[in-house]
Structures are given as structure tokens and as C-alpha cells.
Amino acid sequence: MSEADVTQSATPAGRPDGLQGVVADFASDQRAFKNVHWGKAMMWIFLLSDTFIFSSFLISYMTVRISTVVPWPFPSDVFALHMFGADIPLILIAIMTFILITSSGTMALAVNFGYRQDRKTTTILLIVTALLGASFVGMQVFEWSKLIHEGVRPWGNPFGAAQFGSTFFMITGFHGLHVSVGVLFLFIVARKVWRGDYDNERRGYFTSRKGTYDIVESMGLYWHFVDLVWVFIFAFFYLW
């Protein structure tokens, strides 16, 4: 794939590329992140801090799982669903994974159509993304109530090590909160796109700054991050 066909030049006129570019950008005594909208830079920095939060959760999960002397519950069996006369391991988690990836795809398309100023398509894609996210949260509620019904608590469970419940509720709960907030955020952005806020540069209610389609891209970064975190949770919590 030739990259020149795919993208416009990322290099502003007269600025070096590569490591020299890093030095030049940070040493410029102006904005360090050339070509990056301020909102997007701030979203990235927020996501960086969120990376540390989720990583701390996953690392503490690793620590308690290594250090317990009680056998860890077997995730394939704990998260199996009885369907079509057989226990299918992790089936609900697999469906949730595919739903989140699908929503990530529709989000990426929404960002793209946003920059083409295609209001209608962008709004539809954002709403589809939000509905997929809401269905993800719905399945998580189902999973939580099933486990709670089976006696899994933050302080103990019938399958093995007590730490299983505490890390499970902590990690998936915090991720589910992120998805829920993302769904609200998506509906708000979808409404603004539909109303034409980003075409008319209507000023934001709280920030009084002019709205642009860069906001859809920042929204996209958040949503992809939620998907990214799920990739790690799926690998380390459900499959390991």
C-alpha cells in the first residue's frame, strides 16, 4: 500500500520529518502538536491517563491471580451459556466483542463522513454506533445479573478464588461505565451534527467555542479507546 495515495501530507510546510521533526515541534516555543486540533490533543492526553487507570486494574488483577493459593475459577465454564442443548463457552463475551468491533467500524466511518460534511450519513452512523454500544451494555447487565444470581460477589464466589469476583466487577464495571458514558456522548454529538452545529460553527453551550467536525474525531478516539480496552480485558480476563 503506498501511503502517499492514502493520506494527505502530514508535514506542514517547511517542517522536518522524523526525529528532527519531534525536536523541532517540541522546541518551537509554539504549539507542540502541529496539525492536531487542540480538542483532539486533549482527548489523547485524557485517554493516556485512562490507559494508566485500566492498566493498573489489569495489573492488580494479574497480581491477585498470581498470588492466590486457591484455584482460579475457569472462565470458559463460568461464562458459558446454555444454548441449543449444549454449554457454549464464552459465547456471550464473543458476541459482545463482535458488537463492539462493529461499532468501532461505524464510528470510524462516521468520522470520515463528518469531514466530508455529510450531515445525514454522519448522524445515522453515530446513532448506529450508540445503539450498538447500548446493546453491549445491555448484554453486560445480563451477564452481571446471571453471575450475581449464581452467587458471585466481590468478596467470594462458589467457583474458586474470592479475588475473581472483586476483579471481575471492578474491571468490567469500569469498562461498562465508559461504554455508557460513550453512548450518551454519541447521542449528544449526533444531535449536534444533525442540527448542523459543525457546519454553522455554532458555539458550544459550555465552552462557547466554535463547533467543528474535529469534535466527531475526538468522539471517535474515545469510542475506539473503549474498544481497545475491551481487547485487553477479553484477552487477559476471559481467555487467559
Binding site: D5, V6, T7, Q8, A10, T11, G21, V22, D25, F26, A32, F33, K34, N35, V36, H37, W44, L48, T51, F52, S55, S56, I59, M62, T63, V64, R65, I66, S67, T68, V69, S76, P89, L90, A94, T97, F98, I101, S104, G105, A108, L109, N112, Y115, R116, D214, E217, G220, L221, H224, F225, D227, L228, V231, F232, F234, A235, F236, L239, W240
Partner: protein, 112 residues
């Protein structure tokens, strides 16, 4: 798709998104297969980590547009998380130590 000279935003052909989307589906299916086929031990763990890193890389690189950004922001965002590898190594050592101590004192009744 002519981009104006001082345009700041990321705009790319749709095809690349569909390709990455498809790859993410394939990789997710493969990592689910690891569980269905009931692979165990180092084979299971290495496959899980490989598929996870590939998925994470594709999402960050293409969906989050990192391959097209200038190095200044790429380094500002991707270098700090490397510190987490140190934390992970430390806590793995600590976890092992705790486990050995618990085996010694809780399970085998202790040496004192």
C-alpha cells in the same frame, strides 16, 4: 479528496477502514478459536497475546489515525505507557513472592 494545503484533519479513503474492520473480525474469531479448541499452556498464552497486540495495533494505527500523525504526538502518547511494562514486571515478581509465602505458611502450615 483533494486536501487543502493547511488542512488539519484526517481524511482517508473508505477502503482502508473496511479492510481493517475485516481484519479485526478475523483476529477476534481467531482468539475465540483459541478457547473453543481448548489450547493450553504457552501455546494458548502466546496466541492470545499475539492476537491481542495485532488487534490493539490495528485499532490505534488506523482507526485512531496514529500512522498518519506527526511523531511529536505519537511519541507523547505511546512512550509513557511503556512505564507500565516495568510495573507489570515488578508486580509479577511480587505476586510470585506472595504466592510462595502463602504456600509456605497457609498451605503447609508454616515453618515457625
Amino acid at each position: 479528496m483533494a486536501a487543502s494545503a493547511n488542512s488539519e484533519h484526517q481524511e482517508h479513503p473508505l477502503g482502508i477502514y473496511f479492510k481493517i474492520w475485516f481484519l479485526l473480525f478475523v483476529l477476534s474469531t481467531l482468539s475465540y478459536m483459541v478457547d473453543i479448541l481448548d489450547l493450553q499452556g504457552y501455546l494458548r498464552w502466546s496466541l492470545i497475546v499475539i492476537f491481542m497486540m495485532l488487534k490493539a495495533g490495528l485499532i490505534v494505527a488506523v482507526f485512531m489515525h496514529m500512522v498518519w500523525e506527526r511523531l511529536a504526538i505519537v511519541y507523547a502518547i505511546l512512550v509513557p505507557p511503556l512505564a507500565l511494562i516495568v510495573l507489570m514486571a515488578l508486580m509479577a515478581l511480587e505476586g510470585d513472592y506472595t504466592e510462595v509465602t502463602r504456600q509456605l505458611y497457609f498451605v503447609f502450615g508454616g515453618g515457625g
